[in-house]
């Protein structure tokens, strides 16, 4: 199938289907809808309720997507947000997306399919993976509603492990790694478990874990180790790939000034949002803190201290 230049206008990749070595891309017609929800998949899921999309989805090769993106470079890619989870990343995405000229793709499943597929096929050439990642992000970063100018990507927490590939794909795009005091993160995960940190739900290797080492009944150890691995990759992103480190506890004014400067956007372009409410009952939180302090100190304290040292050095 050959594509003429106009034919993917308004379409967005939503799914990759690995068929042998090469993925095929599945697109739906998003039309002029801007990605506004705090999660990409929420926008797409809502859209998929229209029966049209199931009957008129379309599939292309990666090469066709590359050709399309090459002819239609899309919005300026201004920043990648990596994060530890439960650390204010959603609020950060919301604040970026609050500006109608900015588009945030938050945790798109189609990117995860690509990164996970690449991880599972180590024999794929780096050069090919780089082309694919560029093409997919370029296809996500197309203007849709009109008036959009800048594009941001909020990654999944574990995708910071793929920083080498993402940096190779986008050598000049600003990255940051957002984190938070680890006991608060552990408490949040204990109170409301995330599916990706339940052993066996997501492929353990994706979060750099080995399922065989999971001790029954010790989800806290699994979580602590997986989160520590994410922190280590965040630190690596800072030290080797130029990512800015951001602690959610920083004073918001100074923090956003740093973030805006790093992403090359005027601070005035980022409307302030109302403060997020503290989640969970206080008693429950205190109880969880007591229970998780030991394991957090053992698994996460050291890397957190190193992140903080590196961050202070960046702030200067």
């Amino acid at each position: 199938m050959s594509l003429n230049a106009s034919s993917l206008k308004g379409w967005i990749p939503v799914q990759l289907r690995w068929d042998g070595d090469e993925p095929r891309v599945r697109w739906i017609l998003l039309g002029e809808r801007r990605l506004v929800e705090t999660r990409f998949e929420r926008t797409i899921d809502a859209e998929m309720r229209r029966p049209f999309h199931h009957l008129f989805r379309r599939d292309t090769s990666m090469a066709e997507m590359e050709a399309w993106v090459e002819a239609h470079p899309g919005l300026e890619f201004c920043g990648m947000v990596f994060h530890l989870s439960r650390c204010g990343s959603t609020r950060m995405a919301e604040r970026l997306a609050a500006n109608e000229q900015y588009v945030v793709a938050a945790q798109p499943g189609v990117l995860e399919s690509l990164l996970e597929g690449c991880r599972q096929q180590p024999e794929l050439a780096m050069e090919l993976k780089v082309r694919w990642v560029r093409a997919l992000v370029g296809a996500l970063a197309q203007p849709r509603a009109g008036g959009e100018q800048r594009f941001f990507l909020k990654a999944e927490p574990w995708q910071v492990h793929d920083v080498e590939l993402l940096r190779a794909a986008f050598p000049d795009v600003a990255m940051l790694f957002l984190y938070r005091e680890p006991l608060a993160v552990m408490v949040s995960h204990a109170a409301i478990p995330a599916e990706w940190l339940i052993p066996g739900v997501r492929r353990a290797a994706r979060v750099r874990m080995v399922l065989e080492n999971v001790e029954p009944g010790r989800t806290d150890l699994y979580r602590g180790r997986a989160l520590a691995a994410i922190c280590e990759s965040g630190l690596r992103a800072a030290e080797q790939y130029g990512a800015m480190l951001v602690n959610d506890a920083e004073a918001p004014g100074a923090m956003w000034e740093r973030v805006a400067r790093h992403f090359g956007v005027p601070l005035a372009d980022l409307p302030e949002l109302a403060d997020a409410a503290e989640m969970g009952a206080r008693d429950r939180r205190v109880e969880l803190e007591e229970r998780l302090r030991g394991v957090t100190d053992e698994l996460l304290r050291s890397v957190y201290t190193r992140l903080e040292t590196a961050r202070r050095a960046q702030v200067g």
């Binding site: 034919s7 039309g31 049209f52 009957l55 989805r57």
Partner: protein, 273 residues
Amino acid sequence: MLNADAGNAAIRWTKLPFVFDAALLRSEVAGIADDAWVAHFNKNDYAGEWSSVSLRSRSGNVGDIVPMGHGAEYFDTPLMESCPHLRAVVEAFDFPKRAVRLMRLHPGASIKEHCDRDLGLADGEVRIHVPVETSDKVEFIVAGRVLPLREGESWFIDFSQPHRVRNDGEHHRIHLVIDGSANERVFELLERSLREIVTETFDPPGVLRLETFREMVWEDAELQAELLGQSGLKSLCEAVVVAGARRGLAFSVEDAESVYRQSEQEWKQKAGR
């Protein structure tokens, strides 16, 4: 050892190495009194007329065409006795039989796409089809492929897969359908068939024309807007059939629904979510 757990359960269909004399079978079927045929029981699943007689049933009656209850006993009906050629076909297959029926799809009738979840080979169920009377105007589609079942041939098909049938011909389509439990001999037969027989299948022509129509939709913003506005599956499929016909592309609502369902299934199974 061959058994249901050793990968054989994934056999979706195969033509079998037995070919019967369809003319002899037809002459026997022609002798069955017209009032012996009983209209099919699940009226949600078909449009038009669809009727059966039993050669083997739970009650031993010709008119008992409901093949329920795997544990139940089955008995030959008087038809089995009076139709020696059909009986010889049944006996050619060496497995414990349950229901044995002649299934008759009338001209213009169709069976809507559905899965018979309790008829999977994985669950030890086997169903053999022997077309007695059919034509190239009959479309027999399993898992999105047209299976060319021709008179006198014998086929194994796993009906736990989505399947639909349509008789656009001018005559009845009549199949002898033999149900039973898969045993060692069945798996040996299927294995041998897969090795020795090439079972060709085809894209449904309506689905191919729908594919052409979809490519038109990709290029046509006006058509996109018109069809995007359809909020129900049925109204969308009907609008699509009309829009296709306007462009000289004939396909059915069933073709559209089938493509839709497969696509929706793939969406639900998408990885990484």
